[in-house]
């Protein structure tokens, strides 16, 4: 992490120089990224307007419509209990959106607070906080999430908390690194010299200048968080039936692979599309905000 202090700070200044028009012009040369933004926008619309857009109730059993293949009345077929797969996939968007927002919210807020406190105050605070983070980094993320779930007990809410908490150490480490480099800047020293208090320095000078690498990390992290949370639901540790969660739907579909391919196809397609789009947008945003990280 010591190398970070040599890099120029005020990463946030880079996009500020580019006008929104240059951003748009660069975006026009990346049709895939535009498509990815469109897919994400579509899923957000599906998520927000799910009750209006879904043709059926996602948990209502439709009499006489068990395991129907895709047709005009059920475009994505029905499941083993006679529920409309299309409606369940649409409502699943709502759950995935919530998972993405909640997990990244937890990781971003806690990680930033811990990292900024450690980096700004240094000394014992830094030592203790980072020792805890280092220990947690010794666990692979899915294992850490499962350990937290073992403590909290299986449920969708707990899975979101577990995935969010399991990502905190990575955010804290990044936040600490950038805070260290910002703390060494002249403007922080100048603020201190004219008698500005710690709270104001943190809020006005440190936070705005350290946040952008953490935000880049978060855009890349949403996809991973959605994948892990869906995986936990697949294992039965997250969303419980009859919740129309994509991972849980695939778990049910496994038993009917032989005679209902549609049950196993569409929820997986939905997750994959969302995660591909998130990854594309994340890569693009990273290149835009921080050209040094370009691979």
């Amino acid at each position: 992490m010591t190398t970070i202090s040599h890099t120029p700070p005020r990463v946030a200044a880079v996009p500020a120089v580019q006008t929104s028009r240059t951003v748009l012009r660069r975006l026009r040369r990346r049709p895939l990224v535009i498509a990815a933004f469109a897919v994400l926008a579509l899923f957000v619309i599906l998520a927000l307007a799910a009750p209006l857009l879904a043709p059926h109730d996602p948990i209502a059993l439709i009499p006489g419509a068990v395991l129907r293949p895709p047709s005009r009345s059920f475009p994505l077929g029905t499941d083993e209990l006679g529920r409309d797969v299309l409606s369940r996939v649409i409502h699943g968007a709502r759950i995935s959106l919530r998972i993405g927002l909640v997990t990244i919210g937890i990781a971003l807020v806690l990680g930033t607070v811990i990292g900024v406190l450690a980096g700004f105050y240094g000394g014992v605070i830094d030592g203790v906080l980072m020792a805890v983070m280092e220990v947690l980094l010794a666990f692979p993320q899915i294992l850490l999430a499962m350990a937290i779930l073992a403590m909290l007990g299986p449920s969708l809410t707990n899975a979101m908390i577990a995935v969010g908490l399991s990502a905190v150490p990575v955010y804290a480490r990044t936040a600490r690194g950038t805070t260290l480099s910002v703390r060494a800047m002249d403007y922080v020293e100048a603020a201190r010299a004219i008698g500005v208090g710690d709270g104001r320095i943190l809020a006005r000078h440190v936070l705005p200048n350290m946040i952008s690498p953490v935000v880049v990390l978060a855009t890349a992290g949403v996809g991973i968080a959605i994948l892990i949370a869906a995986g936990l639901s697949y294992l039965g540790l997250g969303a419980q039936p009859p919740t129309p969660e994509w991972g849980a739907m695939l778990s049910q579909a496994r038993a009917y692979l032989r005679n209902a391919w549609w049950m196993a196809t569409f929820p997986g397609l939905a997750i994959t599309l969302v995660v591909i789009s998130l990854n594309l947008c994340g890569d693009w945003l990273r290149d835009l905000l921080d050209p040094r990280l370009r691979t």
């Binding site: 280092e134 010794a138 666990f139 692979p140 350990a147 073992a150 294992l235 540790l237 692979l257 997986g268």
Partner: protein, 306 residues
């Protein structure tokens, strides 16, 4: 060299202590009373008292941790609430199939990832490069619990080439290993591609080209060798991730293994079993990390003198 080895090995001690402490605290940071959670609301008072004593929960917390640590060092991880058997026995039974799966996936991921990465970096036509990058993006984004189901649907149910479940020896390993390897291979392909592109910009590569070495030799003799160090580091670090990722793949293919044991432990709120699995996998992760550091230090003298 010796100083480097000693320093790195000594750093293991605080890390492992931290891992045991975190694992130990799992039981104590649990909201509510873990004994009631494990035995259920209607357990008799004597059962509750017995389990409490068995877990040592009636002692001061420092004493509890030291006992936990002392037993863990000797390989005693307590006994499972569900099966009443020693946790280390349950883990020892389930670890081999998981390791076989993770190793098979590792080999596949390294072969496929490096080949794809080098091909993309050395590709003359940009379309080949873009195609490989696109495939890695899909590989990274597809959840293994979906790709696994699709592979079963295609190769087992439609074509009938490969068995669906665990029975069937080596042939039964193919689909799970491919499923588990896919995201890891995608990551390795990206790392390899970036690393080779970086090396191809170096002066010695320009020198080699200037003196008329064929492009093939430039890529495979000069660039690849030097580009592989970061790739192999990432590959080694992925291994523990593959062990953890086996949780989902084992569930998709109903293979017995550590992952399924972990899921059962969590669902039945079997704390000693869950703690044991977490401790074993995390320690493995720590040891692999240190091993990678050591090998890296041996390979690249610059690391030693930091």
């Amino acid at each position: 060299m010796r100083a480097f080895l000693t320093r790195r090995l000594l750093l293991l001690v605080p890390t492992l202590l931290g891992v045991t402490l975190a694992t130990f605290l799992m039981l104590h940071l649990t909201p509510g009373d873990p004994v009631t959670i494990m035995l259920g609301e209607f357990a008799s008072a004597s059962d509750v008292a017995r389990l409490r004593a068995e877990l040592g929960l009636d002692r001061p917390i420092v004493v509890q941790y030291l006992k936990f640590l002392g037993r863990a060092v000797r390989g005693d991880l307590g006994s499972s609430i569900r099966s009443r058997r020693p946790v280390q026995e349950e883990i020892a039974e389930r670890l081999p199939p998981t390791m076989v799966l993770a190793l098979a996936a590792q080999v596949l991921a390294v072969c496929a990832g490096i080949t794809a990465g080098v091909t993309a970096a050395a590709a003359r036509r940009p379309s080949v490069d873009s195609a490989i990058v696109a495939v890695t993006l899909v590989g990274l984004s597809m959840p293994t619990f979906w790709s696994g189901l699709l592979l079963i649907l295609l190769f087992s149910l439609t074509l009938g080439w490969l068995p669906i479940t665990a029975s069937g020896g080596l042939r039964a390993l193919i689909l799970p290993a491919v499923t588990l390897a896919a995201p890891a291979a995608a990551v390795l392909a990206r790392v390899t591609r970036a690393s080779v592109l970086e090396v191809l910009r170096q002066d010695y590569v320009r020198t080699a080209r200037a003196k008329g070495v064929s492009e093939r030799l430039v890529v495979y003799r000069h660039a690849l060798r030097n580009a592989l160090i970061p790739v192999l580091t990432v590959a080694a670090l992925q291994f523990a991730g593959l062990v953890a990722g086996a949780v989902i793949v084992e569930s998709v293919f109903s293979r017995p293994g550590l992952g399924r044991l972990a899921v059962t432990a969590i669902l039945s709120r079997d704390f000693p079993l869950a703690q044991g699995i977490v401790l074993v996998v995390a320690s493995m992760y720590v040891f692999v990390n240190v091993g990678v550091d050591l090998v890296y230090g041996v390979l690249d003298p610059r690391i030693r003198y930091q």
